[in-house]
Structure formats: C-alpha cells, structure tokens
Assembly symmetry: C2
Homo-oligomer: 149 residues x 2
DNA sequence: CACGATATTGAAAACGGTTTTCAACCTATA
DNA sequence: TATAGGTTGAAAACCGTTTTCAATATCGTG
C-alpha cells in the first residue's frame, strides 16, 4: 500500500494537476484529523491555522482525495457529506449514534458474505454497498436518557 | 393491520388535522403509484390528473404519510428523498441498480440477526438501520454494458 | 344553515449544503 | 523569464427541501 501523500502526488501528476501549497496544507491537515468530518467542520478546523484557504478549495481538494483513493465520501443521512481517510483498503461499515454523533466502525465478513449471496440470488452485480446502524452508543444509552434538546 | 386510508384518517383526527380533498387525492394516487418515487416524480405524475395541487401540498402530505406510518422515507444517495408505501409492517432492504434505477427489495433474517449481534457487542442500542447494495441489475448486467450516457 | 376559530392551500421566497463562475494569481516547463 | 494552462477565494448559482403568507376551506357549535 502506497503512502497517502505519494498516492495523491501521483494522481496529480497523472492528471497533469498542480502541486500547490493549499493542496499540501489541506492534505496534511486531513491526514491528521479524526475521520467522518463534514466538509464544513473540516474547513472550520483548518481555518484556525490557515485562515487564507477558502471553502471552495477545501471542497475541491477533498473531492480530489476521494478520486485518488486516499479518502472516502460518506453520507449518514444528515444532509452533510463526510470524508474519511482510507487506512489500508479494508472496507467497513458504521454504527452512528443519533444522540452524540459518535461513529463506530465495524467489519463483519459473515454479513458481507450474505450480501454477496443475496446479490447472486437476484443476478445482481454489486459495485458498492452501505450498511449503517443508527441508534444510541454505549455512553448515550447508559444514562437511559437522550440529551435534552 | 389497519388499512392505510383508515390509518391516515385516524392520524388526522388524533392530531386535529383536517380531511381535505387534496389530501384524499394525494393519498389515493400514492397508494396506486409504484413505490420509491421521489417527491418530484410523484408530483409530476399527480399533476397530469390533478393540475391544481401544488408541490408544497404534495410534499407536506407525503410527510404526513410518513408520520402516520403508512409510508417510509428512503434516501438512496442521489440527493432526492423517496417515499414508499408500507405494505404490512415488515422491514426490508434494497438492491439499487445504478444504471436503470430499478429497486429490488429483499429481507434477510440472518443479516438482521448479525446486525443485532454487532450492536450488542458494542453495547449499542439500534433504533434503525439501512442496508443498500448498489450495482447492476440482471437486465443491465446481462448486456455487459452500462447505458451510453 | 351560518358563524367563527383554526387549519390548509398554492405560489413564491427562503433555506442550506454543494458546486460553479470568474478574474487574479500561481506553477511547471522550456 | 516567458508562456500556457491550472488554481485560487469570493461570490453567485444551483437544487432539492422547507417555510412564509394571504386567500380559502374545514368543521364544531349555535
Ligand atoms: Mn469509517
Ligand atoms: Mn422498499
Ligand atoms: Zn452517543
Ligand atoms: Zn438496471
């Protein structure tokens, strides 16, 4: 597995795109951030240290990360696109706490197998899938209460 | 299981909402339509026979259907909200053809069980989940070609 | 039935996240 | 350094969803 930095630079070269200071700044920040951040949240974080970089550039660069394979776009149904770093290339799915927003990742080979079985049964060619479990994480469940809103 | 019409009328009564001709027209049309239609598509269909009914009313009424339990909102990641009639109350998941838009429904108790196991393992309380398999349906796969776009 | 309180309607505007536009600017190459 | 062409940030456009608002309809009550 190539390092993310390398993978991104290779992609830029391949597509005759340019290596700019903004792109490198965003890349470093992105690799350091916790994952599953929305574009907006990531931008707000970044802006603290790099107030000169515009939202549009952040947005475009995150899309580049996704195109070159070092990031994945996620959509947890709250109307915001989220991005996460691809560590290795293992697939995983998510538990999403609807109270505190916590995201827990999981992988289950049995489920993946059963999905392939279903697709096969319908003569369906799977290109991608998404499995998300929504509910309350251990912290939010423990109290027996959802946060007062 | 109560009939959808009845369930909707009960809901209106319970919430002290009014039984209007628009709502009844939309209800009848909705129960007749094929499921998984976007608000826009449903509205365009409806407008052919009932040009007087506005988009806002359609939108609001579909939300009412969802609230009273006779419909479910779906989001297949194309940026459009979709609605489907709840036949009975059985849960199901979807195969989504990314080429022709065909939706195939399925239900798999093994997967549901494994999901509960995962939630339990993380001490997570599941309120809802979504599982969608994206790819090519048998028709679109058979040709070996995606449609020329 | 008529009244009046209250809910509903359709058109248009507002909303919110995403994407594009554009003129100034930068990068890579020679 | 000169040039071609990609990049940038701000602002505007976009697009599906939701709200606003004045006119209208519903429905319990007299
Ligand atoms: Mn993840
Ligand atoms: Mn369905
Ligand atoms: Zn939580
Ligand atoms: Zn298809």
């Amino acid at each position: 597995m190539k390092k993310p930095e390398e993978q991104f630079l290779d992609y830029l070269a391949r597509k005759r795109l340019k290596n700019t200071s903004q792109r490198m700044t965003i890349l470093k920040a992105f690799l350091r951030q916790k994952s599953h951040l929305s574009t907006e949240d990531f931008y707000l974080q970044l802006r603290k240290k790099h107030p000169g970089i515009g939202y549009a550039t952040v947005h475009r660069t995150l899309k580049l990360f996704s195109e070159c394979g070092i990031a994945s776009e996620r959509n947890f149904g709250d109307g915001q696109m989220r991005f996460e770093v691809n560590l290795g290339n293992e697939h995983h799915d998510h538990l999403v706490c609807t109270d505190c927003g916590r995201i827990i990742e999981f992988e289950d080979q049995q489920i993946e197998k059963l999905q392939r079985d279903i697709a096969h049964k319908h003569n369906f060619f799977i290109k991608d899938h998404r499995l998300e479990l929504y509910g309350l994480c251990s912290d939010c469940h423990a109290t027996g209460q959802q946060s007062v809103s």
